[in-house]
């Protein structure tokens, strides 16, 4: 049972509960609804369930197709990080076909993925998340906090140029604020960088199993580098603005660390392959997984449980909780009994999963979800852990810091923190940032880590550029390895989508896809209760969380709840449903009013 450490709650007398709902949630990708019961007397969310409803059936219609098409098809799962799927699919196919991407292509893919992280985190943080922290919003939800912000000097003024905290908040006002508009521009420059490496955004055109079609001319790297240099000022400024805002929030609203807080249960599947080490063989996956430039691993209660991709792979279990599927266990034959190392593979592992859709009414007492519940089975404790990704960036930094394996000229892990060095840029000097492991896994820290991870990706891309240009100058222009599709094979790919863990599991028979199951981050983060009754992370983070908004039930906006949900960077096209609690038809639907139209 995953449960957040019980908060020291005085014996409270439960007040009257008010039901409140927001469906659909805006400023995320996909459709998500949040349904809560709030005790306004005690200023607490008592119960929460979140729902999303979309089924498209990728693992159903991919059966029988040519496995080489998988990267093109699975990209269409997600409209903001589709390239992460293509890349992950290519990793899985490389394993299945027994091939290795030429080193230069590996650097090109890393540069593309780094640009994706910079783009996606920037757009999400500055244009979507930060609307919850901007002056226009806080004016309506916490006027006293805004008044205090007007009088609070911003510690990072020398870096970002804003005198007070309120000035920073104003800069994030949607469609009008300076930073909001600048972030849109930066999100375009970083997407151009992405397009240079992977052809187009968001469904790449130049990424293939075996390599890329991108032409590695010197011009390619010049075009990327000049754009990268042009955004470094903004990256440094963003970190300073984020630190100022979040530090102020803790100070202005004591107890805010409880918003969106849950037990530290983090998963990261690793990113940025190291071409000096990776050969895509399952037998050596432990070794090359640890050579990645973002370390894969699982953290439980602040301790590193494993950094071994083989362990990670074998521990994945897909549980059914309350979803519109028939169970395949006992109905269908397994596809993979043993992994290439001879370890037994569970019937609930994605390799052995069969998707049997069985639509029905939305009934909160029965079935209401189009997603299953991925869990990680911890042999040590016998628990099926409901890992979360902290919106991706949080788990990536956390695991990389603890594992102490990343050591490049610009990014170094220390065992306690991650050091990120960005060179001199137009306005600001060379800067070394340090992301330190925070005390909590909560909304503010997830959001803060996003700004730092943009810097991480920017610094890493400098290193990737140097390595790639070395190759080109040395005359190595190979970017693609030819291959034949085997009659029978299995493969798995591990990668980090922008918002967290991503794995693709592939079984080939008769040179066709016999089984293909992608596991993106949002099913991990927003899964429904599983068959053991273990709730998913969103719900866990929102339930029993205090609220700080100054409005009463009459004009309640729910901004604290929104901050908690959005901190996970929900991305719902994979279809997520989550539900906790009694599941009655809502008697009262209420939602906030803000900026009904703009223009």
């Amino acid at each position: 049972m995953t449960a957040t450490k019980p908060r020291p709650a005085a014996a409270k007398k439960r007040g009257e509960l008010t039901e409140m709902a927001w469906d659909p949630i805006t400023r995320i990708i996909g459709n998500l609804g949040v349904y809560t019961k709030i005790d306004f007397a005690n200023r607490e969310v008592v119960e929460c369930h979140t729902t999303s409803s979309l089924f498209r059936g990728y693992s159903v219609f991919m059966k029988g197709k040519d496995p080489r098409d998988a990267g093109f098809i699975t990209s269409r799962i997600c409209g903001i990080c589709g390239d992460n799927h293509t890349t992950c699919s290519v990793y899985a196919q490389n394993m299945a076909y027994g091939i290795k991407t030429p080193p230069l292509a590996e650097w090109i893919i890393n540069l593309g993925e780094a640009a994706e992280y910079m783009f996606d985190h920037t757009l999400f943080q500055d244009n979507l998340v930060f609307v919850d922290f901007c002056e226009a919003m806080v004016k309506q939800t916490n006027p006293s906090v805004l008044a205090r912000a007007e009088k609070t000097a911003a510690p990072g003024r020398d870096v970002h140029g804003y005198a007070t905290i309120a000035d920073i908040m104003r800069a994030y006002n949607p469609f009008e604020g300076e930073v909001y508009k600048e972030a849109l521009k930066v999100s375009r420059i970083t997407r151009e960088m992405f397009c240079l490496m992977e052809g187009r955004h968001v469904h790449p055109s130049t990424v293939y199993p075996g390599g890329v079609g991108t032409m590695p001319q010197p011009t390619l790297f010049t075009d990327y580098l000049s754009r990268l240099i042009s955004i470094l000022d903004f990256v440094k400024k963003a970190v300073a603005m984020n630190d100022d805002i979040f530090d102020f929030w803790y100070e202005a609203l004591p107890g805010y660390e409880e918003v969106g807080r849950r037990r530290v249960l983090l998963g990261c599947w690793g990113a940025f392959q190291n071409p000096d080490v990776v050969d895509y063989r399952y037998e050596t996956m432990t070794h090359w997984g640890r050579a990645m430039h973002v370390t894969p691993g699982i953290v439980v209660d602040g301790k590193l449980l494993t950094t071994d991709l083989v362990d990670i792979n074998l521990g994945i279990r897909i549980l059914l909780g309350s979803s519109y599927y028939k169970d395949w266990v006992g109905e269908e034959e397994p596809f993979v009994n043993f992994d290439p190392l001879g370890n037994p593979v569970d019937i609930r592992h994605p390799w052995n999963q069969t998707t049997l859709p069985d639509p029905g009414k939305r009934d909160f007492d029965d079935r209401y979800s189009w997603v299953m519940s991925p869990r990680w089975f911890d042999k040590g404790s016998g628990e099926h852990l409901a890992l979360d990704t902290g919106g991706g960036c949080f788990a990536r930094l956390y695991v990389t810091a603890l594992a102490n394996m990343v050591d490049t000229p610009y990014v170094k892990s220390t065992g306690r923190s991650v050091l990120i060095t960005l060179p001199k840029s137009e306005r600001l000097p060379e800067t070394t940032l340090e992301w330190k492991i925070p005390r909590w896994s909560n909304a503010l820290e997830r959001d803060r880590s996003r700004a730092y991870f943009i810097a991480y990706a920017a610094a890493m891309s400098l290193y990737f550029l140097e390595r790639a240009m070395q190759r080109v100058r040395g005359g190595d222009m190979r970017v693609f390895t030819d291959f034949d599709v085997p009659d029978e094979a299995i493969g798995c790919g591990f990668h980090e989508a922008v918002r967290g863990t991503l794995s693709h599991h592939l079984v080939i028979r008769d040179r066709k896809i016999a089984n293909y199951h992608p596991y993106p981050p949002t099913p991990w983060n927003g899964s429904p209760r599983d068959s053991y009754g273990t709730p998913g992370p969103y719900e866990d983070a929102i339930q029993n969380m205090p609220i700080f908004e100054e409005n009463g039930p009459e004009n309640f906006k729910g901004v604290d709840i929104m901050r908690a949900v959005r901190s996970f960077d929900p991305c719902l096209p994979c279809g997520v449903h989550m539900y906790v609690g009694g599941g009655r038809t809502l008697k009262k639907i209420h939602s906030p009013m803000f900026g009904a139209s703009h223009g």
Binding site: P24, G79, F175, R188, C195, P359, G360, P592, F594, G599
Partner: protein, 374 residues
């Protein structure tokens, strides 16, 4: 001034068009939201330029899009959609649909995709429920992306949801309140500038300053989809010289390794993906025909040569091989400097002294000296 939308009544623009218009964007089709995201990539024009009124001659635009909405969500976000569904928005609106339209008649009491809940029962409202109410009242209807235009990936063979494109659902002869057919902007996802340019044209038309956008029989903007990928591709010249890439390491024409460019309606090679950067075949990505009604089934497996490619590449071979050789000869000549560029003791440039004005040996100077003798 703005004309109200009566309950099912026609929207009558005044002679100068509308001063203000609403965009109701629904991405709750079977989509990945990639078209909303792609739209934000455009700088030509940028969505914020349209919303902030920076483009002269457009009506004031009220945009409602889930990804960009400052609203927290829920009923406040849904309010304009609900008003429009009741015929009470009081303003003309453009309905943008993103994602494939599912068949909700094949799943019993279930649903494939929903947008908000029924106010009475609390049950999910299907996308189809919204389309049935909004499309007949919309001043214009725009389908964003290949899913919404022709069904796309989610409608491929073997799909469990029976989904389709918007025109398959509403009928290809559908006309909006403004008298327009559905405006289809295919692409998986939409090329950002293609979409924004089309939307802007529709907005000019709403303002009364432009005719409706010219569409072809598949309801695509003619000026964007009237040419093939091949006709705008950087690599097309290799094809003409029968010089084909054998794998993806090559900068040459990719028709033998899976590119469908010669027969696909799309301007991406010409326009690039955004701000002229990226694209598909010209930057090394095979064209998988993502703008087409037949996508994806008619073009799979993507990495094999299209069936028609074998004949056309065979036929171009003799011509291409000969022309490449001849061009090689000419090219070698073009790469040589003329012979008289040297530092020797003689001038060998073919100079005729008669043309050297007033040099010491110039006959005209001698004549002048003769004439000027005292």
């Amino acid at each position: 001034m703005t004309q109200g939308v009566g309950g099912g009544g026609a929207v009558i623009p005044h002679e100068h068009g509308f001063d203000e218009i609403t965009i109701l964007w629904i991405s709750e089709g079977m989509s990945c939201d990639g078209d909303s995201v792609s739209m934000t990539a455009s700088d030509q024009p940028a969505i914020e330029d349209v919303v902030l009124g920076l483009i002269p001659g457009l009506p004031k635009v009220n945009l409602h899009n889930k990804v960009l909405s400052p609203a927290a969500g829920g009923e406040e976000f849904l309010a304009p959609y609900r008003a429009a569904a009741r015929g009470e928005l009081g303003q003309p609106f453009i309905l943008v649909i993103e994602g494939s339209i599912p068949n909700e008649n094949i799943n019993g009491d279930g649903y494939w995709t929903s947008f908000g809940n029924d106010e009475r029962t609390g049950e999910p409202l299907t996308l189809n429920w919204w389309i049935d109410r909004l499309a007949p009242r919309a001043w214009a209807v725009v389908a964003a992306g290949t899913c919404a235009t022709y069904g796309g990936i989610h409608a491929m063979a073997g799909n469990p949801t029976g989904c389709m494109g918007l025109a398959d659902y509403l009928g290809w002869d559908f006309r909006s309140q403004g008298g327009l057919p559905i405006v289809n902007v295919p692409g998986c996802p939409i090329q950002p500038e293609n979409f924004m340019e089309t939307l802007t044209w529709v907005l000019y038309h709403a303002a009364g300053s432009a005719p409706p956008p010219p569409l072809d029989s598949l309801l695509r903007p003619q000026w964007l989809f009237g040419k093939t990928v091949h006709e705008g591709c950087d690599r097309a010249a290799y094809y003409e010289q029968a010089d084909f890439a054998k794998d993806y390491n090559s900068p040459k024409c990719q028709v033998k390794i899976g590119c469908w460019g010669p027969v696909i309606n799309c301007n991406v090679p010409k326009r690039g993906w955004m701000g002229g950067v990226g694209g598909c075949p010209n930057v090394g990505g095979i064209c998988i025909a993502c703008t087409m009604p037949g996508f994806p089934d008619k073009f799979m497996p993507f990495m094999d040569m299209p069936p028609g490619g074998s004949l056309s590449t065979l036929m171009i071979k003799p011509y291409g091989a000969l022309i490449r050789r001849l061009r090689g000869i000419t090219n070698a000549t073009a790469n040589r400097e003329p012979k008289w560029h040297h530092n020797g003791p003689a001038l060998t440039s073919g100079y005729n002294p008669r043309w050297r004005p007033y040099g010491p040996a110039d006959p005209r100077r001698q004549a002048a000296r003769e004439r000027n003798k005292p």
